[in-house]
């Protein structure tokens, strides 16, 4: 057994396929992340979201396929969701939903990692932006690789077992409206990625887990979770 060897091989052969900024969606008007609506009628929110709730994953979070996320001893588990990352091939600004997908040059997978239970009132920097908190890859596939985006299924696997999955289905029109909304006030630049669709929130993963995002036509993105002490040994 050479436990480090497989990780070494996959890390040394892998790369992060995204060069730009990664934008994600935490909540949407019709997707409250599994929380009861009443939560959002109380302080500090006072009313339900009226627009997609967006966040940025900075570059220190990008992790190549096969990489390891190292957690400090203060953290024993994380929340994970598998996401479809849409990669923009050209600057996209003020598009309508009918042509919103025209600027998308390809797709890849991402695993959005967060510390659990952080709430939604303030930007989740400490909770979502630790080093390695966005495994992304394995590579970008062109839109033609997905014959039918409606029927694309994304799965999150923990230690080889499916922990969550979601079919894009009617989500395609929602993705188009999302791009319309985001591009109404900012440019999605060539090279940027939008985590446009994801598996349901709430899946907890613990130290020692292997996590994968899987989608037919795109591939499999893997990472593992270790404590920092293990990483240093």
């Amino acid at each position: 057994m050479l436990p480090g060897w497989r990780a070494f091989m996959s890390e040394s052969c892998s790369y992060v396929p995204v060069k730009g900024t990664v934008y994600g969606v935490a909540l949407d008007v019709d997707d409250l992340g599994g929380h009861p609506p009443d939560l959002f009628r109380d302080p500090p929110y006072h009313r339900l979201p009226t627009a997609p709730v967006l966040f940025i994953k900075p570059r220190n979070t990008y992790l190549a396929n096969g990489g390891t996320v190292h957690l400090p001893s203060s953290l024993s588990e994380l929340e994970a969701s598998a996401a479809l990352a849409m990669i923009f091939g050209r600057d996209t600004r003020r598009v309508c939903s009918t042509n919103a997908l025209d600027g998308v040059a390809g797709y890849t997978l991402a695993i959005d990692l967060s510390e659990p239970g952080s709430g939604y009132f303030r930007p989740p920097i400490r909770e979502k932006c630790r080093d390695g908190f966005l495994p992304i890859g394995p590579s970008i596939v062109p839109p033609e690789a997905i014959a039918d985006l409606d029927s694309l299924v994304i799965s999150l696997e923990v230690d080889g077992k499916e922990a969550a999955s979601a079919c894009v289905g009617r989500g395609v029109s929602k993705i188009a409206r999302l791009i319309e909304h985001v591009s109404s006030f900012m440019t999605l630049r060539a090279g940027d990625a939008l985590l446009a669709f994801r598996t349901p929130l709430g899946v907890r993963i613990s130290i020692g887990s292997r996590i994968s995002a899987v989608a037919a036509g795109i591939g499999r993105l893997e990472c593992s979770l270790e404590s920092e002490a293990q990483g240093a040994s």
Binding site: T21, Y23, A26, L27, P44, Y45, H46, R47, P49, T50, A51, V53, L54, F55, I56, P58, R59, N60, T61, P72, R90, D91, T92, R93, R94, V95, C96, N99, D102, G103, Y120, F121, R122, P123, P124, I125, R126, C129, R130, D131, V182, S183, F185, M186, T187, R189, A190, D192
Partner: protein, 265 residues
Amino acid sequence: MKRARVVYRGSVQTAVAAETERTLRLADGQRIGFDDVEWLPSIEARTIFALGLNYADHAGELNFKAPTKPLVFLKGPNALVGHNGESPCPAGVRQMHAECELAVVIGRQGRRIRQSQAYDHVAGYTIANDYAIREYLENYYRPNLRVKNRDSCTPLGPWVVDASDIPDPMALGLRTFVNGEKMQDGHAKDMIFTIPALIEYLSDFMTLYPGDLILTGTPQGIAYVRAGDEVVTEIDQIGRLVNRVILEPNETAANSGAQDATLHR
């Protein structure tokens, strides 16, 4: 030294500025005037951090208690625009305001940086005007991207002053002028979380890299602006950053991003 990024005769150049003579020296030694160039954002930023409510006086002005840990949010590079640039204000907006901020450029990679070592990781300082549009605030990830990550609504420049030229960045005065009238007059010493404290806080959970940029928050003085205004944000020992507010064009892109080519140089 004051280091600027400019476009001169169609090419992107790095230049060293002599403020008193209003001249720039290009890398090949050529000297040109300030008015001969177009100014780019003073760095090609990697991760852009910004601080909310980091001055007690400003937090009070907005009816917020001073935070007990830094209120950090992020921006994309789309938000930046250079000195003498234009920032679009959407039609109908009445609560766009200017925010003069001392911006710290990270020069050396680091994780778990102690406050006592923090300045060793700073390459220099520049000026940011972190415009906000308060109409778009919501109580989700506040301040949200629609308020703070709009194209060209974070002027940055005119140049980066080397850290070695500013022995005490916590002793700098910050001012904002709208059409010549002074609207903000604050002092970096009033920051709740100092520059070393912010570097220690961020690097405790993430690696800071060269090119990362930290906008350290704004003092009291909400300066509302509207299309047509000239807004100058000024910081001692760094300089004056000039920006014009314009009315945001309202067309929908037909099918391409071509119209944006001028917006986010």
